[in-house]
Amino acid sequence: MSPTAVEDGISVRNLSKSFGAVRAVDDLSFDVRPGRVTGFLGPNGAGKTTTLRMLLGLVEPTSGTATISGRRYADIERPQRVVGAALEAASFHPGRTALDHLRVYAPQAGVADARAHEVLGLVGLSDAARRRVGGFSLGMRQRLALATTLLADPRVLLLDEPANGLDPEGIRWLRVFLRALAAEGRTVLVSSHVLSEVEQTVDDVVIIARGRLVHASTLADLERLAAPGVRVTSPDVAGLHALVERQGWALAPLAPAGDGVPGALAPAGAATAATLELRDVDAATVGAAAFRAGLELHALAPRDTGLESIFLGLTGGGTPPPPAAAAPTTPAGGAR
């Protein structure tokens, strides 16, 4: 409907959802582009599932919009043909066989039963087609959930924690599978609470914490934040700044300070000392330059920030979220 809507793209605008007093999603805006795998990341309880459920018309937003190809999910005719979504690996009747599970949704997807066999083959579950889902491992359920999303060959895929319960081999399989889907020009949005799980799969990242957007960029841009750096502390505030300027060192744009971040040091006497984070330079270079300049250093530590540390820093990891934000997806749980 919106003229700017990207075909097969996902657009979230000023999306908010309150469950009673709990603000599960707070003024969230981001876009997901076709032909790429986008990681939708955040700690548990950040509001990922609630956002996906609003995108899928299962949860009514308090305000804002969430659209796919410019349309609300509820306005899409035969939505399974446009969007394939898997929200929980638990949404199966345990007494139904894998094949029957797919046959239940096949009529509304507008596909013949033969397609059910086909998608079971795609996810490697052909041998388990006539087994009841109740006896499936979590990994098998994940594959069956994925098969369900593929029934009508949709252009957009929304997968909530698809790597949960998969063994390393399963995660590798999923990576190749999702990359292939995106290579066909599809839009693939994958949520996860662990960046490392999807690090090798995604092109773009959307990171949220406590219902708010904290970062959205390509993975390459996020990795740039993770370049090696040095944290340096000196009592000579002016001298340190002068040295940094003279050497042309880049200051880290972002300093995820706090407990749990490797290399982070508590500033020693904030009023009498300066602590800076420098990018793209190692400790030996900084130490040598300081020595030549006669600058007194109190701390000098390499800050080899991995992606995961950046992620934790962005999402406030390490410190537990306040109880109000702990479980916004389940209203009952929100009452601690």
Binding site: V59, A90, V104, Y105, Q108
Partner: protein, 272 residues
């Protein structure tokens, strides 16, 4: 809508519950129909399992015996179609399959209507099987005892058809109840308690009052019996029945009220 109906139909037949309940119902109906056929003709004044217990059993005409026995399914067996109907909704919430259901068809009204129609279809199956088993067993026992079976009469077959219709409608009421009471255990407990205990007791108690009999005939069980025209309670002198179409309307009214409530609550809420 057609696709939604096929989906709902497949949901029912791809699990084991429906035929397990059907088998249990068949066994139960055979037992109770055979026993009643024997008790009404041979038992004399023994009264059978009359809920009230006391009072002389009035002598029944052969027509009344046949009508009562052949419609036993409506009197005692309606709990089966009503449970099957209710479970078609409550299982979706128990196993969280309501999520994929609403992903496949986000128009919640369509899902609801499809469930009601599928409930009617499975209700026709249960109603037909229950009625045939009941009448078959009852007629068999009556014939063996040398009593008339009235199977040659058109009126008898009309009664049987109405019995199947009443049971089919019960399944729809079950679906409607499930939309209001989505907790599976709660739904089953309420259904069993109401159909097996609350309503029978209410009917007996209301029958003792001067004003209660008219109210009692609007209770759902009594309305169902009215559709088929035969009632164990009526023959025992404890109830008066509405006309068959009035009974049907009362059952429909129960279903409509429950569905309206279910649409405004369960089927409007966020699915989390």
């Amino acid at each position: 809508m057609r696709a939604a109906l096929v989906t709902e139909y497949r949901k029912i037949v791809t699990t084991r519950l429906w035929w397990v309940l059907l088998l249990v119902m068949v066994g139960y109906m055979m037992f109770i129909a055979g026993f009643m056929a024997w008790a009404f003709t041979q038992g004399g004044g023994m009264g059978g399992p009359t809920p009230g217990g006391g009072g002389e059993q009035p002598d029944l005409t052969p027509e009344a015996v046949v009508r009562t026995v052949y419609t036993i399914a409506v009197t005692f067996g309606y709990v089966f179609p009503v449970v099957v109907g209710a479970l078609s909704v409550t299982t979706e919430f128990r196993h969280q399959t309501i999520t994929p259901t609403l992903l496949a068809e986000p128009r919640r009204g369509v899902v609801l209507v499809a469930k009601l129609v599928a409930g009617l279809v499975i209700g026709v199956v249960f109603g037909t099987v229950a009625t045939l088993v009941t009448a078959g067993t009852g007629a068999g026992v009556l014939a063996a005892l040398g009593e008339p079976t009235f199977l040659g009469e058109a009126e008898t077959w009309r009664t049987l058809a109405l019995s199947a219709l009443a049971l089919a409608m019960w399944s729809v009421v079950g679906v409607a109840l499930g939309t209001v009471l989505t907790n599976q255990v709660a739904a089953i407990v309420v259904l069993i308690a109401f159909t097996q205990f609350v309503e029978p007791v209410l009917r007996v108690v209301l029958a003792l009052t001067s004003w209660g009999k008219d109210i009692a005939s609007y209770l759902p069980g009594a309305a169902g019996e009215a559709v088929s025209g035969g009632s164990f309670y009526a023959e025992a002198g404890m109830a008066s029945l509405l006309d068959w179409w009035q009974g049907l309307l009362v059952l429909v009214a129960y279903a409509v009220v429950l569905v309206v409530v279910g649409r405004a609550t369960t089927f409007r809420r966020d699915i989390t």
